[in-house]
Symmetry: C2
Subunit: 237 residues, 2 copies
């Protein structure tokens, strides 16, 4: 086969960012990284989404970059991960024309998620308030985070995404509560249980969650490889 010509024109910077959500203390949180102090870097000391440049030597594809970035900051290796979209323009990064491929991840609220110690960057779970966080984010990350929240809240209406924010075993009430945290409104218990159980989303597991009340049956996600899509949203209009 004849060798192909190599294009010689200037190329944009290529990045991948990951909007990582979890639920902590009954509230949605997003994982942010504090950029370093170096004044020759853009947005020194600003909080930013987890992400970085595509490394053409190290990375095979875009998904690998997202998983690498996730792994650098957390102990999570198999999160729920989907593409959110792309943001690219001449002005979004002072270093020049840049485009970022953004993913969106949901990880379980179990402990031991974050890497600690060493010379690690400062990484923190920041609470989501309304459509964003109480921080001035670097680059266009405020806009990207807002898009991620819109996508999340829309899909929560008709998918099983919140199940990925829970530990492996959970009760129906805990799942409903996770929906309510993200949507910011209460759902009907009866309708929620019917939908959850009849959809095949969950599967019973051994045991109950005990407390000073009637014990609650424990369930797990039946097929974590794909979320369930429901035929209706919860609240028409």
């Amino acid at each position: 086969m004849t060798k192909t010509k190599q294009p010689t024109f200037p190329r944009p910077l290529s990045l991948v960012d990951v909007v990582i959500f979890t639920v902590i203390n009954q509230a949605l949180h997003v994982l942010l990284v504090k950029r370093n102090k170096d004044e020759h870097e853009p947005f020194p000391e600003h909080w930013a989404l987890v992400g970085g440049f595509v490394d053409v030597d190290q990375d095979d594809d875009l998904l690998s970059v997202a998983l690498r970035k996730l792994k650098e900051k957390t102990n999570v290796s198999s999160p729920y991960l989907e593409q959110l979209g792309s943001w690219g323009s001449r002005t979004r990064d002072p270093r020049g024309w840049s485009a970022t491929h953004v993913y969106f991840a949901l990880i379980s609220s179990e402990t031991e998620q974050l890497k600690t110690g060493g010379n690690a960057d400062e990484v923190k779970w920041i609470k989501v308030i309304d459509n964003g966080v109480n921080e001035n984010l670097a680059f266009d990350h405020t806009e990207i985070l807002e898009s991620a929240l819109i996508r999340l809240r829309n899909k929560v209406e008709y998918t099983s995404l919140p199940a990925y924010l829970l530990p492996k075993k959970f009760t129906i009430s805990e799942l409903q509560h996770t929906y309510e945290i993200i949507l910011g409104r209460n759902l009907e218990k009866s309708a929620f249980r019917t939908r959850t159980l009849s959809s095949g989303l969950v599967q019973e597991v051994e045991g109950y969650k005990l407390g000073s009340n009637r014990p609650a049956k424990l369930y797990k996600i039946k097929d974590p490889s794909h979320p369930v899509y429901f035929a209706r949203t919860f609240k028409p209009k």
Copy 2:
């Protein structure tokens, strides 16, 4: 302000592709371009999606690239356009690590869409059959087209997207027929009319479409800037 450092590592190729759909002769079609004969270019004489490199001098952002590419091949300037996703890997392009930002456009089936004459590339509407076309597409464009079809068919179940495939004025039956073409199944006339009219998707306009039968009221999209999302899909399960 202190000048920021310029990264010096190698960058992937950055492209934008647009999957452009329309309906011709009662069938869904996608716009494809025939690549030239030059054997030093990848995939000579293969059909490919409309697209090309980001031009950091000419283009302000990714959306501009998509609109520029659309304009180079068609006379359409304000289509329905949404991001589909990104495809990026070391191997998808023989010229090296490349990433494409893919958009998905729906344009009206009116005439005069395609640019003609001059030294234009060969551009053609190719009929969609099942999950793709009867052509060996360049790069990973078969996979991208398949994703676009999945996205389109999913969203047609619960959005007003097919309205963007029709001329400005259309009848409810024509709209229903467009849904049926994309979904590949028939819908109930009564339920379709109720949903369409009660959702505020359309607005009556002057006049009727005549024929050798009862004339049909003409409608237009009330607010073309956003599609309508319905609270239910047509066919649960």
